[in-house]
Subunit: 346 residues, 2 copies
């Protein structure tokens, strides 16, 4: 009986249900094979400029400024990678561009703390070596992402806070500015309004959509032609945040993470991103369940985070680009050598 | 044809190969069931007091002091849990005991920074809610772990640095001390020797084994009778460390992590623990590959970290206790309701 059934079963399997019978294991094997054989692109880049309930009432002119800035940032990253530059250089340069642009809450254009100053956080990570550099609470460094890179490359430590980070900056050749240099009129008005100060010049509707971006952050992830991945993130923090609060951005594994499989930069509610160790959850899910990059981010967004919490930009070793959020909008852009090109807000 | 084959296939499946056809899902279910049915213990606790190349030449008297301290710390945690107290209370109290004990590099007995002062870091995490509190660089808080808990329970943020953390302490009812309160003669001599100062009174052999513990940390993980997990870690940092360096201890997912499956506290080389997002790697491997707690820590120690890097103490939701390191020694202890009881150095 058993032999007959075995033969019969075998015939049936061959004829009809082979793909059902081993669905699960074949599926997981084929995923790996598919992924391994599916080098979609030799290089790839993804970037963001913050997430939140971005109102569609943004004035048309402002909206165009954002699209233009995202496009320019993308072009800068693309150019480096297309010419054979490193993923580290690409993410650093893209983030520097976004830090310099007052439209985004990082570097110039950072929000005001409850003390009325700017405290900046940043991190960078080299996926090929797991080297990383991070800082929190710097007040005089023009490009925090570049200081993070100096920490990564020139110190035996990964993470410096406040005046420790400033002191390290003193030893390094990084551009310094007065704290007011980061101030913009619009952010000042936003802060005044947040304090309930009626002297704010900010139009109410403009204030409202800016407030929705109070967790604003900028970041980038890249794959270069040598197969190396890197990620970087930078932020001016939360409007009116408490003194000395450290968010997810400089936390390796929360807001920023890269290894030899994937590179990720996050934006959103920092505390939610931290407690869920979000960027590392994406990387670990992808590795341990052999899921795709999109599936891994979907898992985090749907199973771990709540709607409205966060957005992620990421690239994997195969050149796939993922730009996903469970918020209404995220300033984002991505491209790869295979022709993917995307710039969007909602 | 298709209908016949479908029916035939169905019959064969029923008769013979049902367990093969869904091997993967049955297997994964059985693993979960096995684990779920294997509630080893109603409560469990694990703790550590640092790791490193702990020389066996520790004077006999000192060795006895360490065993006694570990045993006392363990008893304190056990008592709370046996009487139905919470995992959070257990880890906080155990860490407070270790912070107060000058044998360990946390609270009183902390090492000196390059500036000759003490900067303390700590974190605590509630696995049932993923709530967390953390701080870096406090200088006047007697029990940093208790400030971490106040941050977790009384602030909208998770992580405060330096004077931001001190300012939050000002608003909370936590015990404050002068920074010199953390100083001990032995640590001072250790620092003087580290600076190459010949006036150090420290015997060379004693200095050497103390130096091996320069990454010393204390921590605990617990499961309570209600099935809640919690973890906490506290440290005085590295001897002669650079000003403002943030290590792995307050980084949620690196040195400290808890969810509804497992709670972990790390000790070792902070930068290695951070770049590998170590505590979260254990939790993610355990969850996504359905491995045991021991297997998950072994994976991290063998596949991700290098020999000599780190040690971990952890408990899982089933009451299993794991105390593992890839170093020569770790001051450690663990117990559960089922009768497991272990105190060891090497």
């Amino acid at each position: 009986m058993k032999v007959v059934m075995t033969i019969l079963s075998f015939v049936v399997m061959m004829l009809f249900s082979a793909e059902h019978i081993h669905t699960k294991s074949v599926e997981s094997k084929s995923k790996t094979d598919k992924a391994a054989s599916k080098q979609n692109s030799e290089w790839a880049i993804a970037l963001h400029g913050g997430t939140g309930v971005i109102s569609r009432d943004i004035p048309e002119e402002t909206r165009e400024q954002y699209y233009k800035a995202l496009e320019e940032a993308l072009e800068k990253g693309q150019k480096i990678l297309a010419e054979g530059g490193t993923a580290l250089d690409a993410v650093e340069l893209v983030v520097r561009y976004l830090e310099d642009n007052p439209l985004f809450n990082a570097g110039r254009g950072s929000v005001f703390t409850s003390e009325g100053i700017h405290e900046l956080d940043a991190a960078i990570m080299d996926g090929s070596t797991l080297a990383a550099g991070a800082l929190t609470g710097v007040t005089t460094v023009r490009y925090p992402v570049s200081l993070a890179r100096k920490i990564m490359e020139n110190s035996r430590h990964i993470f410096f806070s406040g005046s420790g980070a400033e002191r390290f900056a003193d030893e390094m050749n990084v551009e310094r500015v007065e704290n007011e240099w980061f101030s913009t009129e619009r952010r000042y008005d936003q802060w005044q309004r947040a304090l309930g100060n009626s002297s704010s010049n900010l139009d109410r509707s403009v204030f409202e959509w800016m407030e929705m971006l109070r967790y604003g952050t900028v970041g980038a992830a890249a794959l270069d032609r040598d197969g190396n991945l890197a990620a970087a993130t930078s932020t001016g923090g939360m409007t009116n945040k408490m003194f000395g609060r450290v968010g997810d951005v400089p936390i390796i594994g929360a807001g920023t993470y890269a290894n030899d499989l994937v590179a990720i930069s996050a934006t959103g509610w920092g505390e939610q991103i931290m407690r869920n160790v979000s960027a590392h959850t994406i990387a670990a899910y992808m590795e341990f369940t052999e899921s795709s990059l999109d599936e891994s981010i979907d898992f985090l967004l749907a199973e771990r985070l709540d709607p409205g919490d966060a957005g992620f930009v990421a690239v994997d070793r195969y050149g796939n680009v993922s730009l996903k959020m469970n918020t209404v909008g995220m300033f984002r852009a991505g491209a790869n050598e295979a022709g993917f090109h995307h710039v969007a807000i909602w």
